[in-house]
Amino acid sequence: MDAAVGIPLLEIRDLTIEFATRRGKVRAVEHVDVSVAKGETLGIVGESGSGKSVTSYAVMRILDRAGRIAEGSIAFSGIDVKAAAESDMRDLRGREISMIFQNPRAALNPIRKVGRQIEDVLLRHVQAAPRDAKAKAIEILKQVRIARPEERYHAYPFELSGGMCQRIVIALALACRPQLLIADEPTTGLDVTTQKAVMDLVVELTHARAMSTILITHDLGLAAAYCDRVVVMERGRVVETAPSSVIFTAPSHPYTRKLMRATPRPGVSLRDLLPDSEATPPPAPAAAADTAPLLVVENLVKEYPRQGTRKSLFKRKAAAEGPFRAVDGIGFEVGRGESVGLVGESGCGKSTTSMMVMRLTDPTSGTIRFAGEDIGTIAARRFATLPQRRRIQMVFQDPTDSLNPRFTALRAIADPILRLGDIRGGAALRARCEELARLVGLPLDLLDRFPHQLSGGQKARVGIARAIALNPELVILDEPTAALDVSVQAVVLNLLQDLKARLGMSYLFVSHDLYVVRMLCDRVIVMRQGKIVEEGPTEQVMNAPAADYTRELLSAIPHPPV
């Protein structure tokens, strides 16, 4: 504990929160002690289900109906939050404590101008009179670095980018100069460069106002870069509390050490991410294949009609700028047994590229040659039932969304075999599925379960088993670990590497995270605005980036000081 000056602003003592569920009461948070001093930035770090968000909801007293504070106390600058009247809490929320949520777009009212939304908060807490509310709202927009605030005052949330929306949410949260800001995963879903800009802004504004901040995150790097003190939570309990400089250099609790290890960072290999006991020597890579590249993409273009250029009854805008080019004449190769990373921020065209290579979307022009055959000319609609389909497969970003909720794990894995494979008969099929399950490390008794009965990591394994069921030659990995906790991510990445070595597949790894790509890929392609800005061997791109944009991407990733 660092030297707390006087009484802490927020003091949580022995907090236990219970949720009433079908199977009786479940304790989401148990005996948690947290305190936040005035002007301090506290990070609460933990994986999903660790109770970090629930703790902060209890501070605001916005737990849903099933949850209640069973034991302990929460004191905010002398006020007992547990016992306070609901009307007092309403005054407290927004004026004294405010919150930033994960999805900025969902936190804003979609049909109200952002300027009006800021005014609403100001008026609610009597921070402005109706006549000067607009001027104050514009002033606040200026403070969160929104360019042309007078104009943006009239913008609706859908007209702004994700980063800009999060700035508006920050503006809303800070409008009444609260004493405590709770930021719940404020940058999840934002690009790394946007994340850096948003976090820098939050820190600058809160420091300038001597505010306290609680930053809730799953990202140790983020917590290390921006917090004074870090609380690590595991399964509803606080396992470690220490100043951030101490926690990353000398983590004392095994769970913290495990988390630290699993976080991708410069200078480590995939095996280093796993705890010592689980790290087995990697299998020997498959024999070097022939030199002809497996996939050759040349001059690939995908155009979409620009918004508002479509013929409409009321607006008939001329298509002056021409269609929007999501992918703008790119070309690259993937060799046999090679893994290539495709990196870029959202909207750079990396997903569109992977969809075209996958033959789920038709390119506007250009060629996609797979094993010498031009597959770009086959219509996406027809490709699904062709024999070539089995040679290119994909692992999707969201393991939950990509599994049919009404199919068991077994049925999901069997699907490609039934449609395109040559194994027939229930017993043989089941045997093959069990073999695949063993290959991806999925316990066999989970095969008869439905997706909602599986954890995130298990669902990811089902998705991988399904993708490799037909022994494809090329697998496209579309951010396969983006929705997973770091410790699960470490396991899944290792699994992918082992599978590649064992089965001799090629990977096209689509990701925004350069550190993850670095560990898994031989070569990296960096994309921006539909074009390739840099391409080369991974080590070269990471250590001596040639393009300014790559350097910017690399420097924006927060990482623990190792």
């Binding site: 789920l360 909720p405 439905f450 909602h452």
Partner: protein, 295 residues
């Protein structure tokens, strides 16, 4: 087919879980339990029907006309001396039958075309939506009257008319649900697995929409019963002396003024209970099939 053989085993487990879940939902919400009880009662009456009634529902007894409810005639007798209790029970089969067949028909027509419209979009979508719009442009009961009058006064035509007027409801719900799932990850994954578009529609989209359609079916079931009874009430469809709730209410209406309230009251009560039961069942079914409630 191997696909079927594969899916055969797990559902046995899941239907057991569903039963347990159903018991939980009913325990949470006793009204759903009541609705299920009425439903079971209706089904028993429809199945056994004439076998359990104390009198022949068609036999008239001129010596005992217009008797008030008593121990001998629980619901009293009508102007021809027929036992109203027997007639109310016997009518269940017909009324429930009309409702079930029309709902099944409209699910096959409206549900499937709605799913196709939502999934394929384009001209399929436009055709289905315009058909639905055209039907919606008429007062629905008047449309049903017109259809029965034009096609002929039979039970089959009541079923068809009821199905047609419910078409937009099913097509629109199914279309909206299919539309949101069109770009879902599992649909793309199914394409990668080599499923054709039609197979994706039937094996991936349809099973995911079934829960919502089941609720929709339960809700329209009540409406279908009411509609069939309404048509009979104004003299279309089922003809006397066939026991049917709508006709019985129509026949009894004239006697209310003279004090013989029971002739119209009991069939009306049966009608009300049936509609009430299906509407409540919809709520309960939603709770049972909604995976978010299954924690």
């Amino acid at each position: 087919m191997t696909a079927r053989a594969q899916t055969g085993a797990p559902p046995a487990r899941s239907s057991f879980a569903l039963l347990r879940h159903a018991r939980y939902v009913i325990g949470e919400n006793p009204v759903t339990g009541i609705a299920f009880a009425i439903f079971v009662l209706l089904v028993v009456a429809a199945l056994l029907g004439p076998l359990v009634t104390p009198y022949d529902p068609l036999a008239s007894d001129t010596s005992a006309t217009l008797r008030a409810p008593s121990a001998k005639h629980w619901f009293g007798t009508d102007q021809l001396g027929r036992d109203i209790f027997s007639r109310v029970v016997a009518a269940t089969r017909l009324d429930l039958g009309i409702a079930i067949f029309s709902v099944a028909l409209v699910f096959a027509l409206g549900g499937l075309s709605g799913i196709a419209a939502g999934f394929f979009g384009g001209w399929v979508d436009r055709v289905v939506c315009r058909i639905a719009d055209t039907i919606m442009a008429f007062p629905l009961f008047v449309l049903a009257m017109g259809i029965v009058a034009a096609l002929g006064n039979t039970v089959t035509n009541i079923v068809i008319a009821t199905a047609i007027i419910n078409f937009p409801l099913y097509a629109r719900v199914a279309r909206a649900e299919a539309n949101v799932r069109r770009e879902a990850g599992f649909v793309m994954a199914a394409r990668l697995c080599g499923n054709g578009e039609l197979r994706i529609l039937l094996t991936q989209i349809l099973p995911n929409i079934m829960p919502i359609m089941m609720v929709q079916m339960s809700l329209t079931m009540g409406y279908a019963i009411l509609n069939a009874a309404g048509l009979s009430f104004i003299g279309l469809g089922v003809r006397p002396p066939t026991p049917e709730w709508g006709i019985m209410v129509a026949e009894g209406a004239a006697f209310i003024v003279s004090g013989e309230w029971w002739i119209a009251f009991f069939p009306g009560l049966a009608l009300m209970l049936a509609v009430f039961c299906f509407n409540l069942l919809g709520d309960g079914l939603r709770d049972i099939v909604d995976p978010q409630r299954r924690t």
